[in-house]
């Protein structure tokens, strides 16, 4: 929906509109001092006068931003100098108002559903709603601001690094807080707030600035991201419930990153990728110390993980070698068929339909915890006064695995191999004509991706304690693919975000679980229709999906040139 208001009208109404907008924002700010809900059971108890709940306090950030964006230009735009010109004041205020409206609507809906009817919404809720509607309506009447140019401002190095560090800390806090919300309503309100903040920041131009800062301080960014991820278990006070989700997310993300090489970089659609994860998991299971393991050979995990990866990549070669010569569409179906072959075979190797290797559909239970260099992953322990449970151990292990995958991925992306892959993805015939050995490169990607999945599978076997064929069905492959597509094919951040969303949302929205797959199907269709490049777009990829966009094309070209300034051919790699 796009409301078009003629420019003359906007100019005529700019002062009254600003006044109304400010009034709306103030109304929203005041509303948190009033109760929103009649009963204390809804959301996080919004029944008090003068004592806002945590969610209300989060919410108020949005109207405060709107208020600042609307009011500051009236009083001190001149004094702000170059900053004033760099911000898109009016448009940002509009986004902030819209985001606030979104949060209010979600919150009121949650109150109505949880307590049974809108009758349970107290005056505060209505004041907030009216304020938000006023602010949105008023900001629609403000003249559009020019594009934000925050990224063109020179900013000192220390500022960039501080902002990155603060941002990471906020991220850690947000993740911990979001996970601590057990109530689906709370979670949805908070999610709406988080999405709103992200949209406002984008509109202000903060992301463009951040992107630049991140590019300038790549090392700091990556390091601080890992420090934050590493610190996450310390925020959980030894609670295993959330750590279990977090470690599952990481296993899923590691697998999705492997698939990302195959689909995102090389453009080979693999619909049976879960089979490689399964191959790794079953290998680790039959070689483990479990009483149900069928092979009497129990090497240490370091060896097992290598065997698991090798078995998976051998399967990858087995399936890839014949089918990578024929083209893409067939590969999709053959890999799908392979996924089914794998599942059926694991089901059948039960001693009656075939040799006993996997115990058939009951799988291999009772896999003991990992033991690396004498350290038992099942033992909880205390670090810095915080209880660290079993899942936290696996979480850290997966973090290390992911870090390795990312390093490999980043270096490959800008290496000769990586550029060969992208060339194949964009035009295989042209790539071949330029002397790229397309078959070998495709096979390498396929086997390499399978190896990563095998490694993740080996950890998963110990993490899950049991391995059964039904964990490795086609739908799981579809989920992996969706994580890659949703986040943004070919990007690391995007895939991590996609994997987190796809694993976290179902855990937090359990009341919705019956409709989960329905929504998942719709999401795939809508994603392809409206944003095929995913949440975080790889620029080259974006260009493929929007071939007619000339402006984007020039942007990408400039970007590639700057990237190549960083690129050091001597090192045959990209500097991290």
């Amino acid at each position: 929906m796009r409301v078009v208001i003629p420019d003359e009208t906007k100019v005529r109404f700019r002062y009254p509109a600003r006044a109304v907008g400010i009034a709306g924002a103030v109304a929203m700010i005041v509303s948190i001092l009033l109760p929103w809900s009649y009963g204390s059971d809804a959301l996080d108890d919004m029944t008090f006068y003068g004592a806002p709940s945590p969610l209300q306090l989060f919410f108020v950030i949005l109207p405060v931003l709107a208020l600042l964006l609307l009011a500051v230009p009236l009083v001190g735009k001149q004094r702000l100098g170059r900053w004033a010109k760099a911000l898109a004041w009016n448009t940002s205020a509009k986004t902030a108002s819209l985001a606030a409206l979104g949060v209010v609507v979600v919150a009121l809906a949650a109150i109505a559903i949880e307590l049974g009817g809108l009758i349970n919404v107290e005056p505060g809720g209505w004041v907030a709603l009216v304020g938000a509607v006023l602010a949105v309506a008023a900001t629609l009447f403000l003249p559009d601001s020019p594009e934000p140019t925050l990224d063109r401002l020179k900013s000192p190095r220390w500022l960039q690094i501080t902002v990155i560090a603060v941002l990471m800390a906020v991220l850690l806090f947000t993740a911990a807080y979001a996970l601590s919300l057990d109530d689906a309503g709370d979670f949805l309100v908070f999610a709406a707030f988080a999405v709103g903040i992200v949209l406002v920041l984008r509109q202000v131009g903060a992301f463009a600035w951040l992107g630049l800062a991140a590019a300038n301080n790549n090392r700091v960014l990556v390091l601080s991201a890992f420090v934050v991820a590493f610190a996450f278990p310390f925020t959980q006070n030894g609670s295993d419930a959330n750590m279990s989700i977090a470690s599952q997310v990481l296993i899923f993300a590691a697998t999705a990153l492997g698939l990302n090489i195959v689909v995102g970089l090389v453009g080979l659609l693999d619909l049976g990728y879960i089979a490689f994860l399964g191959a790794g998991a079953f290998t680790a299971a039959v070689l483990s110390e479990s009483a149900f393991a069928t092979i009497d050979f129990h090497p240490p995990f370091i060896v097992t993980v290598l065997i698991a990866g090798t078995v998976a990549s051998l399967l990858g070669l087995l399936i890839g070698a014949p089918t990578l010569r024929v083209s893409g569409d067939y590969l999709a179906i053959v890999t799908l068929a392979f996924g089914e072959i794998f599942r059926i075979t694991m089901n059948n190797l039960d001693g009656s339909d075939g040799p006993n290797l996997t115990n058939g559909s009951s799988g291999i239970p009772g896999i003991p915890d990992l033991n690396l260099f004498g350290f038992d992953f099942g033992d909880p322990h205390v670090i810095l006064g915080v209880d660290i449970g079993r899942f936290a151990n696996y979480y850290w292990l997966m973090l290390v695995v992911i870090a390795m995958i990312i390093v490999v991925f980043m270096n490959l992306n800008y290496s000769r191999i990586g550029r060969g892959w992208v060339a194949i993805r964009e035009d295989e015939l042209a790539a071949e004509a330029m002397g790229v050995n397309t078959f070998a490169l495709k096979l390498l990607a396929f086997a390499g991706g399978a190896f990563l999945a095998g490694v993740a599978g080996a950890v998963k076997a110990h993490h899950d304690v049991s391995v059964t064929p039904e964990q490795y069905v086609f739908l799981e492959s579809a989920f992996l693919l969706a994580a890659v597509v949703l986040g943004g094919m070919g990007t690391v951040t995007g895939v991590l975000i996609g994997a987190t969303i796809l694993k976290l949302l179902p855990e937090k929205l359990r009341f919705f679980s019956d409709y989960r797959l329905l929504l998942f199907g719709l999401l795939m269709v809508f994603m392809m229709r409206f944003r095929p490049e995913g949440i975080i777009a790889d620029e080259r990829r974006q260009l493929e999906f929007h071939a007619e966009d000339e402006e984007l094309a020039t942007d990408v070209e400039e970007d590639l040139i700057t990237h190549h300034a960083h690129f050091n051919p001597e090192r045959k790699g990209f500097e991290l």
Binding site: S327, G328, D353, G354, F545
Partner: protein, 319 residues
Amino acid sequence: MELFFQQLINGLSLGSLYALIAVGYTVVYGIVQLINFAHGEIFMIGAFGAYATWMVLGQPTDWSAPLSILVLLPVMIIGGIIASVTVALLTERLAYRPLRNAPRLAPLISAIGVSVFLQEFVRLFYGRIPGFPDAKSAIPFPVVHGISGEIIQLGGVTIQMSAVFTVGALVVCTVFLWFFVNRTKTGRAMVATSQDPDTARLMGINVDRVIMAAFAVGAGLAAIAGVAHGLSYGNIGFRMGFLAGLKAFTAAVLGGIGNINGAVVGGLVLGVTEAMATTFIPGQFGSSAWKDVWAFVLLILVLVFRPQGLLGAKVVDRA
């Protein structure tokens, strides 16, 4: 020898089912080069549409055999075709047409989404129609007197009447397809479009309409297959389209994708291979638990040794 003929009959019946579905894959692929991943679900919807028609007719269980075969069955088939064609055209319009010029991955991923969506939609909402059974588990398919459970004994070979229906349906549909493709304007426009869409458009062919026709024909045959499936196996379920669709696609590739006759031949070959594999492969690997594996192994072997398929004159080279 009796066993051989018995399995041949079983294989032909199974193969006819695959062939009816495979035609939908091959026709659509021949024109838009899209693997319509959701086609298996169209087949499932055909079966559920036929069931819904039976419900609307007042769940007739006591109609005599001639009345059942001559009135009930055709009406159910028409109901199934209406349901499947409607859904197929809707998905084409909403999910695939907007992506026609997008990179090749996009429509395929969209098709996976459609497939999951349709399965879940039937699972969640079919039982919400007043009086309808819950579709979360398999639903027993209506009994059509004269076909369901009836057998013909030919020497030592047992032939199910449902198998006769399936094979008969395939024969009728093949004749209809031949006529449609060679003798009607739309059919010839389809051939022209699959050979060269741009030139076809220059010749005044409405390509959008041709694509819709392709989806509709495929969906119609899939609905007939859905009814045949219900009659042969006695029940239908929201998941029935996944494996059947995958097998039918295998059949289409086996015969040479894009080639309608190939789809029919491929379906029959695949069906017979599966039936024979469960009987004549010795040892544990010949048990019926492995039959799907042999079907997919056949797919991979075909792609290695004859990627253009058994009858595939059309060279498929799509990246």
